[in-house]
């Protein structure tokens, strides 16, 4: 029973990371109805930026803040330069551009930082607390997740800019008629997704270690989480993240072992897509044929 509880708790901790990644995916999906296959590599790249700063002697939290800000700017730049020209292109072209972006980020990171695994510091102590059920890092991750969620909720719900972003995603023509610069709202969405992804990368790097391929599995679980919760529903995606985190841990401990983690994600993704394509809380899935 204690072991079970421990599995659930640490599942919730990794689930927090999946929730953040899912949130980043949902943000871009809501604005553009596209799934960003390069989201994981963007987060990986951001984490390397943080590593560079910390390695150069910058204290953790200033480096964290700078990384989030830098990622925000990079996300906007990527949307403006790479994504904008194919905005109205067929899905296949957009997917190919996303994959191109994924490959470029992955190889540039490998080029600059090599493929050797690096350790990444956690801002939280590593010892176990609460009777050994959960590590301080895991608890810290959960707190950061909740912080990100609350910030995003407040931003989208209560600020004029957040409202404008929601409006632009929903009805671009009407948005232009009230004076919203829709193109910039999309870019802003990319910036936010990149910033949020950076947080996920920095939270997960102390656990999985830093290397150019570190986000592949996490992105896959992020997909599963977003789909499970409903890919157009931010709150659902977060819930999906925690559920998927716990499922992953329980499946790893009691069913298939850790060697098939990615297969569990594959089964989850295909299962949700086939059985309940709008997710648990999503509106009816809109597909661009």
């Amino acid at each position: 029973m204690e072991a079970f509880l421990h599995q659930v708790l640490s599942g919730l901790a990794t689930g927090g990371i999946y929730a953040i990644v899912a949130l980043a995916l949902v943000m871009i999906y809501q604005a553009t109805h596209l799934v960003n296959f390069a989201q994981g590599e963007m987060a990986m790249f951001s984490t390397y930026l943080a590593w560079t700063m910390i390695d150069a002697g910058v204290p953790y939290w200033p480096a964290f803040a700078a990384t989030v800000a830098l990622s925000f700017v990079l996300g906007i730049a990527i949307e403006r330069i790479v994504i904008r020209p194919v905005e109205k292109a067929p899905v296949l072209a957009v997917v190919i551009v996303f994959i191109g972006l994924l490959v470029i980020l992955n190889s540039v990171a490998g080029w600059i930082y090599t493929y050797t695994i690096k350790s990444f510091p956690s801002p939280f102590p590593t010892h176990r607390i609460l009777g050994g059920y959960v590590s301080a890092h895991e608890l810290g991750v959960m707190a950061v997740t909740m912080g990100v969620l609350v910030l995003l909720f407040v931003f989208f719900r209560f600020t004029p800019l957040g409202l404008a972003m929601r409006a632009a995603a929903q009805n671009p023509v009407s948005s232009r008629l009230v004076g919203i610069r829709v193109g910039w709202m999309l870019a802003l969405g990319w910036g936010l997704a990149a910033a949020v992804g950076a947080v996920a990368g920095m939270m997960v790097a102390p656990i999985v270690f830093l290397d150019p391929n570190m986000m592949a599995g996490i992105l896959l679980y992020g997909f599963a989480a977003a789909l499970l919760g409903g890919i157009d529903n931010p709150a659902g995606a977060v819930f999906g993240g925690f559920v998927v985190g716990v499922l992953e841990n329980l499946a790893g401990a009691y069913l298939v072992g850790t060697e098939l983690k990615l297969t569990v994600a594959l089964v989850l993704i295909v299962g949700v897509l086939v059985m309940r394509p709008s997710g648990l809380f999503g509106r009816v899935l809109v597909t661009r044929v």
Partner: protein
């Protein structure tokens, strides 16, 4: 005009074939080996192009079918002593069935979601191949080593040359079949489903059946290619079949030309030889180049090399008639 076009194409094909037959006697055995591997890629690319280029179903996971084909061949040869040539139909058949089955749920997934599901498949493939319960068959992380076949009937060829001609014949047969499939009614139905899914349905095209079957046939091609690839390289291991193999195949059809048969050949030469050149710069360089090419082709040359050559040829033949 139509006649001369066709005549020119025949002359071109004959010249290409003659060149293909001569090449292994002109270049080193290592180059011959590379050309053989490029031919097997070409078959895989034709398979992916049937699905993604012609039928519009995005697959980011065709490396999985390549892997299945490779492992079927390796396991049959290594564990059951099946001759190498007999593994190709087996690999094709297994992939046809698995592809069709994967295609069934995939039917309900439009565009992006199919891309997502196949992306997940590509990421999960190496793990499944390493899984310990399958280890007796797959050899786990170590993989399987297989032997290079000798030329039959006392032919005066070395092993690499023989394998090259064997692959060439398989490739010609697969391309000929593919061309006949795509040039006729079925090809038109596939394109109709891609471009006007609802109209195709109302005009009586059985969209569901076509899509699942296309998935199966596409997987068959890729599986045969995988089997050939395994025989050529004499080795299969899980880490050869990562997401990046699937992306390599995607690069191949984009660079070669989406929805083009000859594009598969250009794409195969590209993915075989460009990384070799780029490797000298850095380990990461081939991938950086792949990524740049993916994006650049989508912006500047969305019809790929094949499309570029087509417009070039059209321009060259049109010029005299205009004057």
């Amino acid at each position: 005009m139509d006649m001369t076009d066709r005549t020119w194409r025949r002359i071109g094909l004959a010249a290409l074939l003659a060149l293909a037959c001569l090449l292994p006697f002109l270049v080193s055995s290592y180059r011959t080996f590379q050309l053989t591997s490029a031919l097997s890629y070409a078959i895989a690319l034709l398979g992916l192009n049937i699905l993604t280029g012609y039928n519009g179903q995005i697959s980011l996971g065709h490396g999985a079918f390549y892997a299945i084909g490779a492992y079927v061949a390796a396991i049959l040869m290594d564990r059951f002593g099946v001759p190498y040539w007999a593994t190709l139909p087996a690999a094709g058949a297994v992939c046809l069935v698995i592809g069709f089955l994967f295609g069934l749920p995939a039917l309900r997934l439009e565009g992006l979601y199919l891309a997502l599901a196949t992306f997940a498949l590509a990421l999960a493939t190496p793990q499944i191949l390493k899984y310990k319960l399958l280890e007796d068959w797959t050899g786990g992380v170590q993989g399987i080593v297989i032997l290079k076949p000798d030329p039959p009937f006392g032919l005066p060829l070395d092993q690499d040359q023989w394998l090259y001609f064997f692959t060439l014949v398989v490739a010609i047969v697969m391309f000929w079949l593919g061309r006949n499939l795509l040039a006729g009614r079925i090809g038109r139905a596939l394109v109709a489903i891609r471009d006007h899914p609802i109209a195709a349905e109302t005009m009586g095209v059985d969209t569901a059946f076509y899509k699942a079957t296309t998935f199966g046939v596409s997987a068959l091609y890729t599986g045969v290619a995988g089997a050939l690839g395994a025989i050529v390289i004499q080795f299969v291991a899980p880490d050869s079949f990562t997401l990046f193999l699937s992306i390599t195949l995607l690069v191949g059809i984009v660079v070669g030309g989406l929805a083009s048969i000859s594009g598969a050949l250009w794409g195969a030469l590209f993915i075989q030889f460009v990384p070799n050149v780029a490797d000298h710069i850095s380990k990461a360089a081939p991938w950086a180049i792949y990524g740049l090419f993916l994006i650049a082709f989508m912006y500047l040359m969305p019809t790929g090399i094949a499309g570029f050559l087509r417009t070039l040829a059209a321009r060259l033949t049109r010029r005299p008639s205009r004057r």
